[in-house]
């Protein structure tokens, strides 16, 4: 009866809803990632490998008949008894859509994506400008104008042309001559390099069993990744302690088990001794992270807190994470002691009983809100 051009509706509504969909998807992926940072295969995949993240919860739920015992009718060849592949790959036009699954997303992410998604929620606490910047690094900044060069500055060229015409009494653009042409030029500017040093200290006494060490390792891994991403240069010092502390290699740090008692203050003593000469806080952003099961020599608790307070004055962050089930927590445990003591500026502590609590712990150390409040 009537044919009209267009529908009077916006053309881009589909794209807008698609953006909302992708936005939701992205948030769901991030949620899934947070739950999975305690899984080693994400880390084990290495920086260049990609990780498969199945995103559940994006499915459109509805009642459907049991996929395992469904009967139906399809088109094609085959004699009774023959086994055929799936009737059609993917959704077909006109299908009622009883085939579920097309809405389940599996996203492949590389470490960059993962860190981008996760670390956007984290922030460095107490960022201090460092006095000496490494002057060797420079950066080219195109903010100068020259009569020669590779890149024409169009705006400046037009301005020069307009000025020249105006001087001749006709203030308009036109007949550009070689004398009008201006080029962009660059200047070398020293680029400040931000350096960070992280002291990772761990209790390696007998009570730190395999699963606790694993959690410690995961926690350290994400801390270091985060710091690494935020600073041009990140150095890591591994400190292992029982009743005595010593600097160790990364391999020793994670793989050697020792027996004996625990004196947490020994680790902080070592850091307190080493840091000022090797990594003066005037040049370095200093982070101290300590992980233990909290089982400390009681008389040592007060001394530990004193050292922490001293370090916190010079460091960007001093963190303490207690890992493992708190079922064994005794009166000697460090966490309740810290909780009862007067708060120390710049010192943050947290507990993680299992893998799922690693992300909340990370957020506590590096979160935009909580740390800012905790240290101020």
């Amino acid at each position: 009866m009537t044919v009209v051009g267009g529908s009077g509706l916006p053309h881009d509504a589909g794209h807008r809803d698609a953006l909302h969909h992708r936005d939701r998807l992205r948030r769901k992926i991030t949620e899934q990632l947070k739950a999975r940072i305690g899984e080693e295969d994400i880390i084990a995949s290495g920086p260049e490998k990609r990780v498969r993240v199945p995103v559940s919860g994006t499915r459109s739920w509805r009642f459907i008949l049991d996929r395992g015992s469904e009967e139906g009718v399809a088109q094609g060849d085959g004699d009774p008894g023959d086994v055929l592949g799936p009737p059609g790959d993917g959704p077909q036009r006109g299908e009622a859509g009883t085939e579920p699954g097309e809405e389940l997303y599996e996203v492949w992410l590389d470490m960059d994506d993962i860190e981008e998604l996760l670390f956007s929620e984290l922030q460095l606490p107490r960022l201090k400008p460092k006095a000496t910047a490494d002057a060797q690094a420079t950066e080219a900044v195109f903010d100068d104008i020259a009569r020669k060069g590779p890149r024409i500055d169009k705006k400046e060229t037009l301005r020069q042309n307009l000025v020249r015409n105006a001087k001749r009494g006709r203030a308009r653009l036109g007949s550009i001559e070689s004398g009008d042409v201006r080029y962009l030029s660059y200047r070398e500017r020293p680029l400040p390099r931000h350096k960070a040093v992280v002291f990772l200290a761990m209790d390696v006494s007998g009570s730190m069993d395999v699963s606790r060490k694993r959690m410690a390792r995961l926690f350290f891994y994400w801390c270091v990744q985060f710091l690494h991403r935020r600073y041009d240069q990140t150095e890591i010092v591994f400190v292992a302690h029982t009743t005595e502390a010593r600097e160790v290699t990364e391999h020793e740090f994670f793989h050697r088990a020792e027996s004996g008692g625990t004196r947490v203050s020994s680790a902080f003593e070592l850091i307190d001794r080493e840091q000022p000469d090797r990594y003066p806080e005037s040049d370095w952003n200093v982070y101290v992270l300590h992980v233990s099961d909290g089982d400390n020599f009681t008389a040592d608790n007060q001394r530990t807190l004193g050292l922490i307070a001293r370090l916190a004055e010079r460091c960007s962050l001093v963190g303490y994470l207690q890992v493992g089930e708190s079922g064994f927590t005794t009166s000697r445990s460090l966490l309740p002691f810290f909780e009862e003591a007067a708060p120390v500026d710049g010192f943050v502590f947290a507990a993680a009983e299992d893998d799922r609590e690693l992300w909340p712990a990370l957020k506590r150390f590096f979160a935009k809100d909580s740390v800012e409040e905790a240290v101020r």
């Binding site: 051009g5 053309h11 509504a13 589909g14 794209h15 809803d17 459109s60 509805r62 009718v73 009774p80």
Partner: protein
């Protein structure tokens, strides 16, 4: 891009309409055609109606469909809406021959929309409601946050299809049991008294039951009786429910409707006397629509085969056909098809006209899924009787399991108890649990569904979902 103007399309519509009404005898309603860009066609296809409320769900579908179009894997030619007047989208950039086929195709749909009893039962003035609903939902998103409204929409979409369809036959309500006095009551006073008590108890139990009758309208029931919903939330539920009502009759007449549209475009294009190159182009496009694919049944292919079978019976019946259909051999084929289009749905069409001939022509077979690998199927039969029974089961429910609310105070905890009206196959556990969680978010309390696993009546199963997102399942009676 295209070498035709709106007036050319107008002229095509007039020519097609003359043939449809004059030569085929189909009175088609007025159709308003909109020539729109691909993005718009795909967006309306993704959410089923133009200008519907915004939702990430449509966005997901749009992304998938429009992506297939851009990669050249799929092309929609037309979209038609069951409104008054009927509106149809033609896609910009299609050739004039393509648009001709589409216009003729739409006239076939238009006839079915106008005259089919099931499709006539919907509100054809739905567009003003759709627009107003879109505005309200957009307001709610501004007020309460987009994510919150999307979450509510997710929950509504999960159960929206569970509502009673337009019924041509009304079912009588169950009557209360009552004791009828009989002649010899006085001889057995004790027995009569016991019987009286038993019936009174039964009646009281029935009166306490809420809902009194199993309720098929899940969203409607939740909207009326859920306790913890704000007004705007009830409004969202009612929007999703009523818009879904528009789609249900189309789901149950898919094969019939597409068959009619194909029949009309084939008969019309046959009578247009197109030049050879154009006719060739038409045949190619037509083949793309009706071609059978190995896999799920192509409703266009089956629909046209069934309607052509009706026409064959009307003109060239064999002896068996004559025995079965009184009108065989003596009817105007188009008149016979119109009779079918007016009062049948897919179930009735398949039940009556899926003959061995159609079965063979469309290469249909019945299958069952392999338990150990649900992606694979085993051909169970190619006999027309078996195929028909399986297809009737498939189309009679449009693939929607029948689920009804039987108790709104389950366990005296205010939980919702649902029964799956089992027809040989149980509910999919994963999806049942996910859906019950969504329903529980609307109801505010745990929701439980009873079913039977497989076809073994001994294996009673239940699933449950709670508003906090947890779900469970078990055998026997639910807890």
């Amino acid at each position: 891009m295209s070498d035709y103007a709106l007036e050319d399309l107008q002229a095509v519509d007039e020519r097609c309409r003359t043939i449809v009404t004059g030569e085929l005898g189909f009175e088609a309603p007025d159709v308003v055609y909109h020539l729109v860009p691909a993005e718009e066609v795909y967006y309306a296809a993704a959410n089923g109606l133009p200008a519907r409320y915004s939702s990430a769900r449509w966005g997901a579908r749009f992304d998938a469909m429009y992506g297939r179009y851009r990669r050249g894997e799929e092309r929609i030619y037309e979209l038609i809406f069951n409104t008054r007047p009927v509106h149809a989208y033609l896609m910009e950039g299609n050739s004039l021959v393509g648009q001709t086929l589409v216009i003729a195709h739409c006239l076939g749909h238009g006839y079915v929309f106008e005259h089919n009893a099931w499709l006539g039962a919907v509100d054809r003035q739905i567009m003003p409601r759709v627009l107003s609903a879109a505005h309200r939902i957009s307001d709610y998103m501004a007020q309460h946050g987009r994510e919150r409204v999307e979450g509510l929409l997710d929950a509504c979409h999960a159960v929206a299809v569970h509502q009673p369809q337009a019924q041509l036959i009304r079912k009588a309500g169950t009557s209360e049991p009552e004791h009828r006095p009989a002649e010899y009551d006085a001889l057995f006073p004790e027995e009569v008294e016991a019987e009286r008590r038993r019936i009174a108890e039964e009646r009281d139990a029935l009166r306490r039951r809420f809902p009194r009758e199993p309720e098929q309208d899940l969203l409607g029931f939740v909207e009326r009786h859920a306790r913890a919903l704000a007004d705007w939330e009830r409004d969202v539920i009612s929007i999703v429910r009523s818009e879904q009502g528009y789609f249900l009759p189309q789901m149950r007449t898919k094969i019939l409707n597409e068959g009619a549209a194909v029949l009309v475009h084939q008969e019309v294009c046959q009578r247009l006397f197109l030049p050879t190159n154009q006719y060739w182009e038409y045949e190619q496009l037509n083949a793309g629509v009706v071609q059978p694919h190995p896999g799920p049944v192509n409703p266009y292919n089956l629909g046209i085969a069934l309607l052509r079978e009706v026409m064959r019976i009307a003109t060239e019946p064999d002896d068996e056909d004559r025995e079965r259909w009184g009108w065989a051999g003596e009817a105007d084929p188009f008149e016979r098809v119109r009779t079918v289009l007016r009062s049948y749905d897919d179930e009735a069409l398949v039940r009556e006209f899926l003959t061995p001939r159609v079965c063979e022509r469309c290469r249909l077979f019945a299958y069952e899924r392999l338990q150990r690998d649900p992606r694979r199927i085993r051909v169970s039969s190619r006999e027309a009787d078996d195929v028909r029974a399986a297809l009737v089961a498939q189309v009679s429910t449009s693939g929607i399991p029948r689920v009804e609310i039987v108790d709104a105070d389950f366990g005296r905890r205010g939980e919702l108890l649902l029964d799956h009206r089992h027809e040989g196959v149980g509910l999919d556990p994963e999806y049942a649990r996910g859906t019950l969680v969504e329903l529980a978010r609307l109801w505010g309390k745990r929701c439980v569904a009873r079913t039977i696993q497989g076809d073994d009546a001994q294996r009673r199963m239940w699933f449950a979902g709670s508003p906090d997102g947890s779900s469970e399942q078990g055998f026997g009676e639910p807890r």
